[in-house]
């Protein structure tokens, strides 16, 4: 009996609990499975729903939030890609816009150009400036040549607004291209006259971008500043009456004080020329 009590005392409290607990839980869960406890089980479930449902909601919220985060990150990445794409598109549109502007202004110029007609006895050929030598800004190459009827020493005219102005002279002519020497070049020369003084002289190009020079004026010249200078009928190359420029000043030669000359500002800006109207004398063609 004493031995039995001793053994009982030795049976630790923890170890008993260790054996009882699983048995209780196993039996309880087995009963839940086996017994026809539909209504008590429903009650237990209803009770448990108070505990578990908020957690499920929290889990759902977490998953949704996680999904939103990934979607946000994805959309941010997409935004970056879209931004790049839009930048490229913007760049393309900018180029297209510039091209459209260019085409529009060209269209406007050409519309005006259509109104330009060659003088009697002259044949006019429209040509575009195809190339401009970077080191030689006083000449341009046009996209028409001998095969189009252009010949050397033909006059090159451009439109300034709606007024035809002298641009230069064809100095070289190839099959499909021609080189035009602009009047700013110092090798250029043309017989001109000024209005209203009707003073005649020889216009030569200025060197290094300076003004044009109208030489061989009469000693008693009444040429005034602001007079318009036109090509003279005495020139065999240019048709008469084409605007060349405007007298800036009338000066005397330092060496020969009796010989006056005039500084003339060209009417056309050679750097802006896009189309040229080449005038070929019909006699020359024959």
């Amino acid at each position: 009996m004493q031995r039995k009590n001793k053994r009982k005392n030795n049976f630790s409290h923890g170890s008993r609990r260790r054996k009882i607990l699983p048995v209780v839980f196993l039996l309880f869960s087995l009963l839940l499975m086996v017994l026809p406890l539909e209504s008590p089980v429903a009650s237990v479930k209803a009770m448990l729903s108070y505990i578990f449902i908020p957690q499920i909601r929290a889990a759902h919220t977490t998953v949704e939030y996680g999904g939103e985060v990934s979607q946000t990150v994805r959309s941010l990445l997409n935004v970056h890609q879209e931004n790049e794409r839009l930048k490229e598109e913007m760049e393309r549109l900018r180029l297209e816009n510039a091209q459209a502007k260019e085409i529009f202004s060209e269209n406007e110029r050409l519309t005006h150009s259509l109104q330009l007609k060659a003088p009697k006895g002259w044949q006019g050929i429209w040509a575009k400036t195809a190339y401009r030598e970077p080191t030689q800004w006083n000449s341009v190459i046009i996209d028409k040549g001998c095969s189009d009827g252009i010949e050397e020493r033909a006059a090159a005219v451009a439109l300034k607004g709606q007024t035809p102005v002298l641009m230069g002279v064809v100095i070289e002519c190839a099959e499909n291209t021609a080189k035009v020497l602009l009047l700013q070049d110092e090798d250029f020369s043309a017989a001109v006259y000024a209005l209203p003084s009707e003073e005649e002289g020889l216009l030569v190009g200025g060197s290094n971008g300076s003004l044009l020079k109208m030489q061989y004026l009469s000693v008693l010249s009444e040429l005034q500043e602001g007079e318009k200078v036109y090509t003279s009928a005495s020139s065999s190359i240019f048709p008469a009456g084409i605007l060349v420029g405007e007298v800036e000043s009338v000066e005397k030669e330092p060496e020969y004080a009796t010989a006056p000359f005039a500084k003339v500002a060209a009417a056309a800006d050679s750097s802006l020329v896009r189309e040229l109207f080449i005038l070929v004398r019909e006699e020359m063609k024959k």
């Binding site: 923890g14 609990r17 260790r18 607990l21 699983p22 839980f25 196993l26 309880f28 869960s29 087995l30 009963l31 839940l32 499975m33 086996v34 406890l37 089980v41 237990v44 479930k45 448990l48 729903s49 578990f52 957690q55 499920i56 929290a58 889990a59 759902h60 977490t62 998953v63 996680g66």
Partner: protein
Amino acid sequence: MTTVLKLFLSFLCATICHWALMTVFGEIGVTVNIMLIFSMVVCAYLKPEYGYPTAFLGGLFLDFFGVKLFGCHAFIFTLCACAVYGMEKRLDMDGIIPQIISIFFLSLAASLFNFLLLKVFTGFSAWGGFWPFIGGITLNAALAPFVFRVLRHVFAIERKMS
């Protein structure tokens, strides 16, 4: 008291994680069982007074959402808890490999036992195919070291082994 509070809070977190991961991995047809891992890790680290109720309640949580056999998971989880307490002296649960292996085999046993109980009591076959089955068990095993690490950190003072 602190342990009970920690256990309660970690249980809540486990249920949230379980549901969240179920939702995420459910999309690829794999069923992860965080509650089983959690219950087994608690059993591995805490005394039976904490381990058995946790396993039972963890199972009951799953049963709550089941429609076929109420108490099935509670029964299985309690049996798994018995297995963990039975082999606690033979396994070093601090190593990653034993953690993975033990959870792998416990998940395998729990799943097979679940199929068996459902078949016996309801005649219903819960077999969803080999790959979802093996995928779920493997995923449980892969997640086990992480759960072990987290709970070891949470219950560091209350560790049973120390």
